[in-house]
Symmetry: C2
Subunit: 376 residues, 2 copies
């Protein structure tokens, strides 16, 4: 896919469409509106990201019968206006001597039910609950989990580009030496390469060598990588505001027979789960399929995490591919498929691609080879 870069910026229409969608989805869910504090939901809805995240309340209020309104601290009003006036959002400010929760409650219906963005600070939710005790608040993860799950074309374009940059990073890192270097040296190379291939932000560079690979969230340490090690490489970040996240497990020199065996099991689990993706299938079904392959091979108790997570303006978001999750897949959803096996004290294997649901199946946004790669 030939990609034009940088991508066309999102337009006022894009943001207006997202705000309208949020309001409509909220209404469909029986809500009176939604409240959005700074964070990924606010960025997605308006493009606005305050300079600093502080204890001062900033809150977007979307409700069917009122104009979208952004409540901001007085001293952030100029920045907020510059960001959101053009997309049709009104700005209301509160000064340091005012009660921001009372200011917010003027926009909320007593006795109503409002969705509130997950990453809103608890202190702000408690302030709202205190001033308007008859109002019910529900987290987006509970009431609007799929708000950002289906990506539009501009978002898919960015995720595809971020995936390609992560692939280029893997291709380059596999050519570099591993044996004799410390994990964090390889991690530094991953970060450098992600940036070279266009990432604005590097979020994680996991290098789990030998026994460290058996800890799925081990980052990178001072362990010297040895010949014979399996090494889990899991890395990603943000590129033009959208995430990448891919994992390959490599072998330093000739693989241990059990590494080879486990790698093949995980490869088949990933492939089988990928082939099962199509609109209408439940997220939990994809998890079940990946898990069954690993369990049937006798390693079920060592697959200790969910099969995948959505990705967009954040690297972890709905839909989640967890056991029993009934949410059906829809075209345009983007998420990871990342089964793994972790043998404590020995090694770990994980293979992860971001995929997107198409009209009839799925397309990978990561396309490097799944075969066990031998590195030097």
């Amino acid at each position: 896919m030939a990609m034009r870069w940088p991508p066309t910026p999102f337009t006022a229409d894009d943001y207006a469409a997202r705000m309208a969608r949020a309001t409509r989805v909220a209404l469909d869910a029986g809500l009176d509106g939604v409240l959005v504090a700074p964070g990924p939901d606010l960025v997605w809805l308006t493009g606005y990201e305050p300079t600093a995240l502080t204890e001062r309340l900033t809150l977007l209020i979307l409700s069917p019968r009122v104009r979208p309104t952004l409540l901001v601290p007085t001293l952030e009003r100029p920045d907020a206006e510059a960001a959101v006036l053009t997309i049709g959002v009104g700005v209301v400010d509160w000064g340091d001597d005012a009660d921001p929760y009372r200011a917010a409650s003027a926009f909320l219906r007593p006795g109503g039910t409002f969705g509130i963005s997950d990453a809103t600070w608890a202190s702000h939710l408690l302030g709202l609950q205190d001033r308007l005790p008859s109002t019910v608040y529900l987290g987006f993860g509970e009431c609007l989990p799929m708000l950002r799950a289906v990506k539009d074309d501009g978002e898919l374009y960015r995720l595809t580009a971020a995936g390609a940059a992560a692939d280029a990073t893997y291709t380059e890192i596999a050519e570099l030496p591993f044996a004799g270097r410390r994990e964090y040296d390889v991690a530094a190379d991953l970060a450098r390469l992600l940036r070279e291939f266009g990432h604005d932000r590097v979020d994680f560079t996991i290098v789990g060598s030998g026994p460290n690979g058996a800890d799925p969230h081990h980052e990178a340490g001072d362990r010297v990588i040895e010949p014979g090690d399996a090494v889990v490489l899991d890395f990603g970040g943000l590129m033009h505001g959208y995430g990448s996240d891919t994992t390959r497990t490599v072998s330093v020199g000739e693989p241990d027979p059990e590494v080879r065996k486990v790698h093949e099991i995980v490869r088949v689990a990933q492939q089988t789960a990928f082939e099962a993706v199509r609109p209408g299938v439940a997220c939990g079904e994809i998890d079940r399929i990946a898990r069954a392959v690993i369990a049937d091979a006798g390693y079920g108790e060592w697959f200790i995490h969910r099969t995948g997570h959505g990705i967009g303006v954040t690297t972890h978001e709905p839909p989640y591919l967890t056991p029993g999750e009934p949410q059906p897949l829809r075209p345009g959803m983007c998420f990871s498929i990342e089964p793994g096996v972790y043998l404590p004290g020995r090694f770990g294997v994980r293979i992860e691609d971001i995929v997107t649901v198409t009209d009839r199946g799925a397309r990978r946004l990561n396309n490097t080879d799944h075969a066990l790669r031998v590195v030097g």
Copy 2:
């Protein structure tokens, strides 16, 4: 002050003392315990900072009759254990198929009242409220605002060093050319200098030239700085985990007479407020004193923010020097004193030092000259 660098790491005893203090203060406040999600409070209490902040619940539970317990996602257990077992915290994990709020509620007394860290995600608070509806939750800002406000010697050492690095940055930047350069070029120099003088993280580099200086939270833009401009420079970040934050307003060439006049008013306001600091004085009184100087000079309506904020593991934290705030100052508290005047469309002036309360008065952690500096 001759400073040894890097500072001695905080010890297991330091963290144990902080956890004991939190539990005791909570008990004094009539609480049954405190709940702490990842963020500055968790770093301060335990030194633990999860690799990534995600939707998965991590929660420290401190309560008088139980061992300090950290509830973590299963796949973060190894990292958590490495971080907190040595300081006497037990680790309990929950898997992706478990309900983390039910797991947490096993540690909470039904009908009890618990403090919860301000930056905890609203979704987590809602989950706890749902599973244990008879339990009352209060934000730290409400129930334990001064938990981290009085700094211990190790903290004061770090804040003093961060202040000295910010001072060195100002000294160097004032020697560089301003006229003809864009604001973000000067901002880039500020960031570079902060890092050169030891900062691990740069949080803000405000360069507000001419009319941009009248927006207190303007960061830095593409405006070309002109001879005659007043330029607000407000910058800081973290050094060994503790914050710096200082502001000076400079004049590019000969100052406009009103810039000179306003600068002198702000200088006197800052100095008068500083001299009023001593144990027992209310935070609101320091704000009142700074505000009175500016109001008496006829610029009261243009001082549009509070006089100061605490600083520590974050750059904005209690105590807040806001109008009417009754909190008395105590030895070891550290905060900014930063009065300002903002004339829309024309210019702004702000002078800011971090200060610490001593047994009989105050000591500045920023010590560069307050006179209006003429730059090139």
